[in-house]
Amino acid sequence: MTSKSKFLAAPYLLWMIIFIVIPLALIVVFAFTTTVYTDLEGNLLSNEEFDELRIEYDNFYDMADNELPYKKQTVFTLTHIMEVSNYVPVLLNSVWLAIIATAICLLIGYPLAYLISRMRYGFQKLMLMMVMLPMWMNFLLRTYAWMTLLERNGWINKLLGLVGIGPFDMINTQGAVVLGMVYNYLPYMILPLYSIMTKIDNRTIEAAQDLGANSLRVFSKVVLPLSMPGVASGITMVFVPSVSTFIISRMLGGGTNMLIGDLIDLQFLGNAYNPNLGSAISLVLLVFILLCMSITNQLNNEDNMDGGMLL
């Protein structure tokens, strides 16, 4: 192809700058700035003084911009970033729950992906479809269905009640939140694992067996190393949405176990409106996740930069 076709990417590049780069830049700007009010001479007004001014001028109701007795300024500040430190326990709690959820997903998903990858072609496709099918249902509804199951008067407790045990407090616990994460993101673990494992030739495994390796050694020396890239992308694809979720913790955690996602939501569309602090938390979360990713990426042996990593 000619080098002219490079320009086919031009519309996308423009798009990318407007909708990916600038929004992230805005987050950085918001995280490091705050709005202050000064009087016309440029002296800083305290909130109290500003409230007084507001009352004096009838809330500036019909005033044009140039008549206003104050100026609004955006100034650089580190307070929001410092304030994020207050919420590090929330971040750590989110990370901890996400790690547990990711580990469980890996434990459940790995054998399943392996079993599927060793099936006949037709069965493989069928099983894969069965893994993907639940993802087509709205995830809020699926999570809501878990509420129906886990509640104190829910289906599980009713079932246990028939046998004479329970009722157990299952909903509104950290366990329920982890369960919600595992349930919603398990397919994201299985799919990349499967797509890597299906490339492992049965003959490689047979060769190892012929050479006298027991099944444990076959696993640790052949299957595991070959599936490592799948493990890495599976981990990222489960960990990232788990660590930043806010719906699962709200629906299954009852709002008593706040996660970092809830905290961000709270600052933007929730009960404590403060987009500057929200941006600062988002920024910290983003940097943290990029760092985590660079760590997991080390699991990837080869440099497969483009394509193949997702699905």
């Binding site: 590090v88 008067n153 009852g254 709002g255 933007f268 929730g270 910290v284 660079s294």
Partner: protein, 422 residues
Amino acid sequence: MKKLTNYLSFLLCILLLAAAACPVSAEANADGYDPDTLSYSNSVDWNKFRGTNTSINVYNWGEYIAVDDGEEGAFDVNAAFEELTGITVNYTNFASNEELYAKLKSGGAAYDIIIPSDYMIARLISEGMLEKLNFDNIPNFALIDDNYKNPDYDPTNEYSVPYTWGTVGIVYNTTLVDPEDDVNTWNILWSEKYAKDILMFSNSRDAFAIALKRLGYSFNTTDEAELQAAAESLKEQKLMVQAYVMDEIFDKMGGGEAALAPYYAGDAITMIDDNPDLAWAVPVEGVNLFIDAICIPRGAANKDAAEMYINFLCETLVALKNCEYIGYSTPHAEAYLYLSDDLKSNPIAYPSDEVIQNSETFTALPSDTTRLIDTLWTSILSNTSTNPYLAMILMFVAIVLSLGINVWRRQRKKQKMYESMN
């Protein structure tokens, strides 16, 4: 045996529901007012916008307007308005005043009608976020009870038209709460006996109000020490709380998931209708008396059409249908006259003077106090630390870890290459 009683009580509940669904409006109430005689007034030209393809965006609390729920005599306010005026209504919900505030403040979303509560109206007025209403377009404002005109939150009554009012009390499940216990106190929400059986407001103002009242302070305190004390007591309460909720309460109390929850009187009536095990208690320490009112946010695209909508909501017929459906108390003098005897004498919706006397309304707080409450509330909901450098230390550790692994890998790669070369 217990199963059987459960089953029976459920049957009973169904029967009661069926009874409630029967048309009650067939006859006049004890004062001789018959709702069937009501029709729309000609207070304004309802057809002014017909054919102009006008639409208004209405932003209201969840379950806060009469809709057609398929029961007999059902009245759909928005559909009726669309039919009468030809204006399209885009109707969406918010869950709390603070959510409404965030949505308006962040900009972007263009609403024509909003229905906030008293203190939020005061805050919105003070931040120049509301339009002054043109009362020439809202002649039905005259029908509002004089007691609700010129309220504290809008002293000159330029910005708002009252929609409903009510009190905050405790909804409790009679089968789960020990009859020996005194429910008429906020203290019961701190009782360890009901640990994990208590639901709590997830919005800061209502939650703080309860904690403040329990400690004997005013809802509207600006004293930092008092607010800190309230925050401490809310932290203490967190151990007992099953979940922080707003409208989720309908589901949870209706399904018997929790024993006690503070909520708004009007919604309590709806909940008790659905689940007869529930009951209402009014804490002796004093309760919050709130008014929700209709406002138009600053810069609304269709102010005239929005004022027509307000006028429509103040039609006696509409106000009546609305308060019958949502269960909240009405500030509409005429609609009150037409209320069924049942509702009129319902102490939850129309409490005794004693309760009213012992109530307090929210006022607007200075912005410093609002900020403080928001920060305290966030720290109650999340476990916070006090070390200001923790985030940086954490970042630093992560960066070092990531770099370290990277360097280590490069070394190994080099080593491997070296080995393979030999």
